[in-house]
């Protein structure tokens, strides 16, 4: 699943910006995960333009350019009602905390699953 960035709205200020440290307008990104929260917010996890930080961005910033669902995704409803789509290992509780703490197994899982998504799109 690929999307193109169509607007840059700062999630903290709500202001529209012309540049961002994370995304570029009119640039395509691979969607790594999707989170739909009970309150209505939908986040896409995307490897940002900095050094590829897999961060969360409001789905309103994007439009779809490739609507195929990655073969390694599963869907899960978490306690509290959050609906998540992504690789099963990434949806395990605590995975992203381990990843951002540089846990080697989490990093390896991240790279493996991301490669599967990117390879399918080539």
């Amino acid at each position: 699943m690929r999307v193109v960035c169509v607007q840059l709205t700062n999630p903290n200020t709500g202001l529209t910006e012309s540049t961002s440290p994370w995304l570029d307008l009119d640039t395509e990104y691979e969607v790594l995960e999707v989170y739909a929260y009970p309150g209505g917010r939908i986040d896409l996890r995307i490897a940002a333009k900095d050094a590829g930080t897999p961060a969360l961005f409001d789905s309103e910033l994007f439009m779809t350019v490739d609507e195929r669902i990655p073969p390694n995704w599963i869907a899960r409803v978490r306690e509290g009602g959050t609906v998540e789509f992504g690789p099963s290992t990434w949806l395990e509780t605590g995975f992203w905390e381990r990843f951002f703490d540089r846990d080697s197994a989490a990093i390896e899982s991240f790279e493996t699953e991301k490669r599967r998504m990117l390879d399918r799109d080539r």
């Binding site: 999630p11 903290n12 200020t13 009970p38 050094a51 961060a55 969360l56 605590g94 992203w96 540089r102």
Partner: protein, 194 residues
């Protein structure tokens, strides 16, 4: 050799360390564990620092009551204060000035009380939303004031330069109130190859 007033960057770093000292009182404020991996994690009660400078592991440790010791260790680990105060008259100081500029950039993101500047908070992006946090003790702490867990998230700042290389700061913030939780898992992460 006369004592030279420390640069603004050092003042900010000292403020950060003072904040650590205040939180930690007379207890051990920093301890380090080194895993087999390339990252050294340092916890300093409220603050923790992960450093990776090339293949070299650096450890920050100390006790409150010996602030200069903690400070020196911190500076050594980050390299932020290295070479500050040098003049521009000698061409050989070029690399030192570059380090100084990187050091000033690194320290400029912090407030005098050790928090993050508002502009830095505004430029940050969420990494993990509250409902997806696995640390239940942290969840309990974040919501102890009755706030909604869905409003909390783990964030990262953009990358900033330091003499030891680019780094990001991870922290927890409430998107509804703007409150930042600095007392757990507030850390500097030096960017390594991903």
């Amino acid at each position: 050799m006369t004592a030279r007033p420390r640069s603004r960057s050092l003042v900010s770093l000292l403020a950060l360390l003072a904040a650590v000292a205040i939180v930690a009182s007379s207890t051990v404020v920093a301890s380090a564990t080194t895993s087999a991996g390339p990252v050294t994690r340092v916890r300093a009660n409220a603050h923790s620092i992960e450093t990776r400078v090339g293949a070299e592991h650096r450890v920050v440790a100390g006790r409150v009551g010996r602030d200069t010791f903690v400070y020196d260790q911190f500076v050594s680990a980050t390299g932020v204060a290295t070479e500050t105060g040098l003049g521009a008259s000698n061409a050989a100081t070029g690399p030192a000035l570059a380090r100084q500029l990187a050091g000033e950039e690194a320290s400029s993101i912090f407030t005098s009380s050790g928090g993050l500047q508002r502009s830095v908070l505004d430029a940050s992006t969420p990494l993990i939303r509250g409902p997806n946090l696995g640390n239940q003790q942290l969840v309990k702490t974040l919501t102890a004031d009755g706030s909604n867990l869905a409003d909390w998230a783990k964030y990262t700042t953009p990358a900033f330069n330091s003499p030891s290389g680019p780094f990001q700061v991870h922290f927890y913030m409430n998107s509804s109130t703007g409150a930042v939780h600095y007392l757990d898992d507030f850390k500097v992460v030096f960017n390594g190859p991903r």
